[in-house]
């Protein structure tokens, strides 16, 4: 029971970290970045390569994969999304899907479709919590999630860039008139989101150590669900949504059915949205008449 809960929170923490990227990008660029899940996969492969081929230590490999993903995020934003600023949201959505296909197929070419066994980066003993044993990866995941959450809250509340980000997400036009560089703010958001995706990729692959070009797809969709669940655009919402989603998924797997666990997760999302149409912590949308 306790171990289910901790595993659930740990899986949820990974979803939460991914969902943060979704939610920040959505808040600022108002786009559903479907390629976000594939950045996770790239992050996983980067950590895999840097430890297996380049002999990096755990920490350096995480930093290396964050660096690569951050650059990737900025490049993708500049090349694919920036030319579409102001275009219909559907056009941006399809472009994001194109980017997603691109990353998946590029990974397929480079690393083939054979699953890679992800190395154990956190070689720590299992931990006894009450009567049950929990893997250390789970605890590391939860800890990193808390650290990221705190850092991000500090960043958006206290720093100049963070305030600029909030201003842009509130009203892009007004922010630009106040002298905020909207383009660089959006770039920074993509950079942070992609860097977080790399962390999530490493944590995800440490918990479920098989790495394939499609590894990021399903966690990506679920994290997106988590972001909507908590109220898309809201940072605490993404956190809450992610953790709830992880816990529900693990409990559904344990007590109901492994095959139906995804269906249950999505069903809960639907129920929540019917009761609260903008998610748990989302702001109410009002249309001015």
């Amino acid at each position: 029971m306790v171990s289910y809960l901790i595993n659930g929170i740990s899986l949820g923490a990974v979803y939460a970290i991914i969902a943060l990227g979704y939610t920040m990008v959505y808040g600022i660029a108002k786009m559903l970045n479907f390629a976000h899940g594939d950045v996770i996969m790239v992050g996983g492969y980067m950590a895999y390569c840097s430890t297996s081929y380049m002999g990096f230590g755990p920490l350096t490999s995480v930093l290396f994969s964050m660096l690569v993903c951050t650059i990737l995020g900025i490049v993708v934003e500049k090349l694919a999304y920036k030319p579409l600023r102001g275009a219909s949201s559907l056009a941006v959505l399809i472009t994001a899907i194109g980017v997603s296909y691109f990353l998946q197929n590029a990974a397929l070419l480079i690393w083939s479709s054979n699953p890679k066994a992800f190395p154990n980066l956190f070689d720590l003993p299992q931990v006894q919590v009450g009567d049950s044993v929990v893997t250390s990866v789970a605890l590391v995941t939860i800890a990193s999630c808390i650290v990221i959450m705190l850092a991000l809250t500090f960043f958006t509340e206290k720093t100049k860039m963070g305030k600029a980000m909030r201003a842009v997400s509130e009203d892009r036009g007004a922010a630009a008139l106040m002298g905020i560089n909207v383009n660089s703010t959006i770039s920074v958001t993509f950079a942070i989101g992609s860097g977080l995706a790399a962390v999530a990729g490493v944590l995800l692959c440490s918990a479920y150590p098989t790495l394939m070009p499609t590894t990021g797809a399903m966690p990506g969709i679920k994290a997106f669900t988590a972001a909507v669940f908590g109220g898309i655009g809201s940072i605490p919402g993404a956190m809450l949504g992610g953790i709830l989603l992880g816990v529900i998924e693990i409990f559904a797997k344990a007590y109901v059915s492994t095959q139906l666990s995804d269906a249950i997760v999505f069903a809960v999302l639907i129920v929540v949205l019917i009761v609260k149409p903008t998610g748990l912590l989302g702001r109410k949308l009002t249309e001015k008449v």
Partner: protein, 348 residues
């Protein structure tokens, strides 16, 4: 009255296009120009065209983004397979069984459309999109653990495993969980596909140019104004959504009965997205565009086969470039400039 005739001209162009395409493909097929794999794509192309048209009714005319239309295709596909398999002895004539299977698939998908539409259509924008995505995944998941078989006593269901259906020794399993439907008798044909496209065009085009179609488009353009004009918004959103899901179900039945096996995984998020790509690239609200985009994008990966591993990469790049060129003023001006320069040179 002038305008009515303009609409009908547009409509006739689409019917004409479909019939011309049918004749061309028939000639190519009889001249043995088509490769086997391309020949095998004829029915799927028809199914995808119907899917694209159906989704365009929701995305283009009703203005709601659905990311789960493959779910309706799935409901239609497996319903169609069940009907076709269980009526094998009762209705030995293939085309008649196909009609029943497609109709049955459409009806069940429409019921699914009503069940999903009621909660979904209360939501707006991206929230609506994510919930359709969720429903699509739920349908896939449920189909993954469905076991359906038939024997002399009738149909048997189970959601745990094959054995628990309690089939008689002579009974056959129609749907076997994640393995999907096995041993389907192929009764779909290219002609049936073309007829289904024409029926779909007939329903959508006439619906769009009627009182209901105006109401649907009005709600898309301005919901509050539509309400102030006395339009019952939910009713017309439902009408578009359910019609679309019924057509998607019909397409699913057509698709499934073209293969000997169909797995639930076929109708996942990626398929929903694929169809959305047809709609967006063909032009939102543009039926002719949907038809052409669905055909080209289904044939393209086949044609790109010589690039082997690179084809999906090329496909992705083409997708991104097309979106940028069609939506970015600078890029489209640049392309136009290139062409006009070329034209000038040729003229000179």
């Amino acid at each position: 009255m002038k305008k009515l005739s303009k609409h009908s001209i547009k409509g006739f162009i689409n019917y004409g296009l479909v019939i011309v395409l049918y004749i061309i493909f028939q000639i190519l097929a009889s001249a043995k120009v088509l490769t086997n794999s391309l020949q095998g794509l004829l029915v799927p192309i028809c199914a995808y065209v119907v899917m694209a048209l159906a989704l365009n009714l929701v995305v283009g005319f009703s203005g709601e983004l659905s990311l789960g239309h493959a779910g309706f295709m799935s409901v239609g596909a497996f319903t169609g397979v069940i009907i076709a398999s269980s009526l094998k002895n009762l209705v030995p004539f293939g085309p008649a069984r196909l009609i029943l299977a497609i109709a049955g698939g459409a009806v069940l998908a429409a019921i699914a459309g009503v069940l999903i539409g009621v909660p979904v259509l209360r939501l707006r924008g991206d929230y609506l999109a994510i919930v359709t995505l969720a429903f699509g995944e739920i349908i896939k998941n449920i189909m993954n653990c469905m076991y359906i078989g038939v024997d002399s006593r009738g149909l048997h269901f189970s959601i745990t495993d094959e054995a628990s259906m309690g089939l008689e020794p002579g009974g056959t399993t129609i749907i076997n969980g994640p393995m999907g439907a096995l041993g389907i008798t192929k009764i779909s044909s290219f002609l049936a596909g073309i007829i289904l496209i024409v029926i779909t065009l007939f329903i959508i085009q006439n619906l769009v140019n009627s009182r209901a179609g105006r109401a649907i488009a009005g709600i898309r353009d301005n919901r509050i104004a539509a309400e102030a004009c006395g339009i019952p918004v939910t009713k017309y959103k439902m009408m578009a959504f359910v019609t679309s899901s019924a057509l998607a179900g019909a397409a699913g039945a057509l698709y499934a009965l073209n293969y000997s096996t169909v797995v639930p995984k076929k109708f996942d998020f990626n398929t929903s997205i694929l169809i959305l790509v047809f709609v967006v690239l063909g032009g939102i609200g543009n039926l002719t565009g949907s038809i052409i985009a669905a055909i080209i994008l289904t044939v393209l990966p086949e044609v790109l086969r010589q690039f082997q591993d690179y084809r999906m990469l090329v496909y992705a790049i083409v997708l991104i470039l097309v979106m940028i060129i069609t939506n970015n003023e600078k890029a489209s001006a640049f392309i136009k400039g290139l062409f006009s320069k070329k034209a000038k040179k040729e003229a000179a």
